[in-house]
């Protein structure tokens, strides 16, 4: 139990550093302002949203096209399919025939869904 956790402890340390790294300059900036070391002179250009150097256009909170939602939903469904198939693929050498048949039925049912999706042109961006 400890071995696995020890490996992930490295990941945890990395995450802590990832959190500290961006927050440290912000905290330092705030502290410098508090101690009167940093001047505070905001203007319209400075406070503007940074968007890769291009001037921002329109409001930030726009209404998204629902096509994105459909694509995201289809992504979730096939994501779950892969999650179901992964343990099966790993265990396939011990349950060859039934595992293969079960997986093929599983894929076939979802393939029907894919065919329906294709025929309804849900994959088209229009």
């Amino acid at each position: 139990m400890e071995n696995v956790l020890e490996q992930y402890a490295h990941l945890g340390i990395l995450l802590i550093f990832a959190a500290i790294f961006p927050s440290l300059p912000l905290i330092a900036s705030w502290a410098f302002f508090k101690f009167g070391l940093r001047p505070r002179m905001p203007n319209a250009v400075k406070s503007d949203t940074y968007e890769c150097g291009v001037e921002t256009e329109g409001p930030t909170w726009v209404q998204f096209n629902f096509r994105y939602y459909l694509v995201a939903l289809i992504f979730v469904l096939f994501d779950v399919e892969v999650i179901f198939l992964f343990p099966l693929a790993v265990a396939l050498d011990s349950v060859v025939v039934t595992g293969l048949v079960a997986a093929l039925i599983f894929i076939a049912v979802l393939f029907l869904g894919l065919v329906y999706e294709w025929r309804r042109q849900a994959l088209e961006w229009r």
Binding site: M1, E2, N3, V4, L5, E6, Y8, A9, G12, G58, P59, W61, V62, Q63, F64, N65, F66, R67, Y68, Y69, L70, A72, L73, I74, F75, V76, L77, D79, V80, E81, I83, F84, F86, P87, L88, A89, V90, A91, L92, S94, V95, T98, G99, A102, I105, F106, I107, V109, L110, L112, G113, L114, Y116, E117, R120, Q121, A122, W125, R126
Partner: protein
């Protein structure tokens, strides 16, 4: 790893999960609420890791952090209310809170009452193998029903979305024609062309 390290990991992850969950409730902006939800779900994934359930942790990150949160973001972003403010007072909040608390107590009761058996260490591939074997040997019917459920969700989503889309396509075509007459540029995909009537773009 020492016992101290384990406790540190557990308590910091628990703080992350509960803190994120509290911020979901507190946050006025729905988009920010989803971001806090992602933090909370990452904390849960970490808690799975402390239980040595690597496969579940990976699935949690892949499905919940990666996919479901994006789905939620899109669901919020396609609502017509630009401010995404959830400050609106809901009259049923009190009873709903009572129901949620009751469900939570019942879930915790079951979780504490159940004998979960001993935890044994298993690597990621071995855990996946165990899950795969039990899927085939014991849960083959639920497994196939899962496929049917996924397909039903897919068909339902398309049936709902495409119905809207056909109306919108007619409108978009007319709008496109107008724009072509003006000689202006094509409408950008991200910003939806203004919809003809209210409520059409709602989920």
């Amino acid at each position: 790893m020492s016992d101290f390290g384990f406790h540190l990991a557990f308590w910091s992850l628990a703080a992350m999960t509960i803190g994120g969950a509290s911020m979901i409730v507190v946050s006025r902006n729905l988009i920010h609420a989803v971001i806090w939800l992602v933090l909370s779900m990452l904390g849960i994934a970490g808690l799975y890791l402390t239980l040595s359930a690597e496969f579940i942790a990976v699935v949690q990150v892949l499905i919940y952090v990666g996919a479901i949160s994006v789905l939620m973001l899109f669901a919020i972003m396609l609502t017509p209310r630009a401010e995404r403010d959830n400050s609106q007072h809901i009259k049923t909040a009190g009873p709903a809170g009572v129901v949620v608390i009751m469900v939570m107590i019942a879930t915790m009761w079951v979780a504490i009452d159940t004998d979960w058996g001993a935890v044994r260490e298993a690597a990621l591939t071995e855990q996946a193998r165990l899950i795969g074997e039990s899927l085939i040997k014991h849960y083959i019917l639920p497994f196939e029903i899962g496929a049917v459920l996924l397909t039903a969700a897919l068909v339902g989503a398309i049936a709902l979305a495409r119905q809207d889309d056909e109306d919108a396509a007619v409108h978009a075509a007319s709008l496109q024609a107008e724009l072509d007459d003006d000689g202006s540029v094509d409408p950008v995909d991200v910003v939806d062309p203004p919809l003809p009537t209210d409520g059409e773009a709602s989920t």
